[in-house]
């Protein structure tokens, strides 16, 4: 949320942003009658945790954690599943749903006939994606707390960290969506998301890669979230966490600025 408020100041005044919460309210109205749909996002990381964390984890046994000591595989993988779920939730909300509203339902055309501005739409949709995925983050944190997969009080910061992640991914996802011409283009998003999901230190540490590749992976977006959340939940605090935070803030603000300008060009022509 702090990132959102900061974003509001960075945005050019003319593109708006102050009425963004009215668009969030609109989305709340939509889900008021269909809140069951919202539950799906809660089960995704839970099922992965049961299948991979415990199922495959049972065969893998203990693995070295960020502090060097051995930890059960489920403890290692749980924070990464939270990171992945935050990314997936943000991407789903900011791509498919936005594309539909932008190109088919013409929702934003109607919104912009009022005092609302493109910046309000951008910030509102991204803010909504953040709210939605932070609900999942809270749910999942409760689950792993109960399962005793949390090892440090620093874990309380995992929820704001997950929100920051969803802000970054929602902003960039929505920015990409403004360039999409058809539903086929969404395959491109999968091509990016899938390898991020599999190779960002999610299921095995990036120290398994040769050094050059490690550096590449360390600069990809999901890795920032995976390492940030794992470090917080397992209590491995160092300066690299600050880098992750800055990376995600910059990524989110850049996406937000692109979205506001693109909506202005697409809708106010």
């Amino acid at each position: 949320m702090t990132a959102l408020l900061a974003a509001q100041r960075v945005l050019p005044i003319g593109l708006g942003g102050r009425r963004a919460w009215l668009l969030i309210e609109r989305n709340l109205f939509v889900y008021r009658s269909g809140w069951l749909v919202l539950l799906s996002g809660f089960f995704e990381p839970l099922f992965y945790l049961l299948s991979i964390g415990f199922g495959i984890g049972g065969m893998v046994g203990d693995v070295p954690g960020p502090n060097g000591e051995l930890i059960p595989y489920a403890v290692f993988v749980a924070p990464a599943l939270l990171a992945t779920a935050s990314m997936n939730g943000a991407i789903a909300e900011s791509t498919f749903n936005v594309f539909f509203k932008l190109n088919y339902a013409k929702t934003y055309d109607a919104v912009l006939s009022t005092p609302m501005a493109p910046g309000d739409v951008a910030l509102g949709e991204i803010g909504w994606a953040v709210i939605r995925s932070s609900l999942y983050a809270i749910g999942f944190m409760v689950v792993i707390l109960v399962m005793q997969l949390v090892q440090s009080p620093w874990a309380v910061f995992a929820i704001p960290a997950a929100m920051l992640m969803s802000f970054a991914f929602a902003a960039v996802g929505m920015a990409a969506t403004t360039f999409m011409r058809s539903w086929q283009d969404f395959d491109l998003i999968n091509i990016v998301i899938m390898p991020l999901f599999l190779f960002s230190g999610t299921f095995f540490p990036i120290t398994s890669y040769p050094p050059a590749l490690q550096l590449v992976v360390a600069l990809t977006p999901l890795y920032q979230g995976v390492d940030l959340l794992r470090s917080l939940i397992l209590g491995h605090i160092d300066a690299t966490l600050l880098f992750h935070v800055v990376y995600l803030v910059v990524m989110g603000l850049a996406g937000l600025a692109v979205v506001a300008r693109r909506l202005d060009r697409l809708l106010l022509k």
Binding site: R19, F29, A105, T107, D109, S113, A117, L267
Partner: protein, 313 residues
């Protein structure tokens, strides 16, 4: 009402121009709309009506010229102006994810109204457009006419100073059109300033105090429907429809039947002040049309005269 009579027009346009790249959609048009007036843009598809309306609605930047709405400049005060406009776009942009009533409530919120105010206003407007029984329904199953009425209710949510209607009844059946016209006429009676585009002559004649005829991005005529008909057409028109192939053989036999002859692909229009006399004259010349229709001149005839082609082509 001429532009100069009203000292502070609600809408004031001079040399208003809209270009998309090389294409000129609106080419230096001048017009003023006074408070309480019902003003129309009449013209075929592609004449520049919608582009003009979008500029007035502050959702399309002005390429060149002057545009003032409520005395304000859309480039500077867009959101403020939009806060006082009601917009009925050409295609419905209702929120299909929300119920009929929530469409209005949420829209009211976009204008900064409180929840309580939004709900009260929504219910009153649903009554006004006769959709109160459908309040809880989704938007999708509504008929075309109902969706249009809901769109009009939505446009009225902020008690707009100006209501902009872009082809409000296109695609509706006659019954739905008449119901809509009735609601618009009531608004007009209440003093709401209406600005509408249409390519239906009857709609323009019903609703507009004054209108401009647009063709190829320019305004080609301006006046009240009656003034335009008097200026550009005769009192009556005699339509002669001949059997297939006959019309082409009539060269030289039609001249002088009326003040002016217009030959359309499917019929011949004879313009005169006495349509029956023109029909009788045609009969005397031995012309045998399959059908003869005498009618009053309409804006369609004005348009035909001004541009040499019919309005909906």
């Amino acid at each position: 009402m001429t532009p100069d009579e009203s000292p502070t027009p609600l809408i004031h346009a001079r040399g208003l121009t809209k270009k998309f790249g090389e294409f000129t959609a609106v080419d230096a048009v001048d017009f003023d709309v006074a408070s309480g007036e019902s003003f129309g843009f009449l013209g075929p598809n592609g004449a520049g009506k919608t582009s003009t309306m979008r500029m007035v609605g502050c959702v399309s930047p002005v390429t060149a010229g002057t545009l003032r709405i409520l005395g304000l400049d859309p480039n500077v005060d867009g959101p403020r102006i939009r806060g006082r406009l009601g917009v009925v776009p050409q295609q419905d942009t209702l929120d299909t994810e929300l119920s009929v009533r929530d469409n209005l409530v949420i829209y009211a919120r976009y204008f900064g109204m409180s929840h309580a105010e939004a709900r009260t206003k929504a219910d009153a407007l649903l009554e006004f457009v006769q959709l109160a029984e459908r309040a809880k329904d989704k938007v999708e199953p509504l008929s075309g006419g109902m969706k249009r009425r809901l769109t009009i209710a939505r446009a009225l949510i902020n008690d707009p100073s100006i209501l902009l209607l872009d082809e409000p009844t296109t695609g509706l059946d006659p019954q739905a059109r008449h119901l809509l016209w009735d609601r618009l006429y009531r608004l007009k009676q209440q003093g709401v300033t209406l600005v509408l585009t249409t390519h239906y002559m009857d709609e323009a004649e019903q609703l507009c105090d004054r209108l401009v005829v647009m063709d190829k991005a320019r305004i080609v005529a301006e006046g009240s429907p009656l003034q335009l008909i008097e200026r550009y057409s005769t009192r009556e028109v005699t339509e002669l429809r001949f059997a297939v192939g006959v019309q082409e053989t009539l060269d030289g036999q039609l001249e002088g039947l009326g003040e002016r002859i217009e030959r359309l692909p499917d019929r011949v229009l004879v313009y005169s002040n006495d349509g029956e006399a023109a029909a009788a004259a045609a009969n005397q010349r031995g012309l045998r049309p399959e059908t003869v229709l005498v009618r009053r001149s309409s804006l369609e005839d004005v348009f035909l005269r001004l541009t040499g082609r019919s309005l909906v082509d």
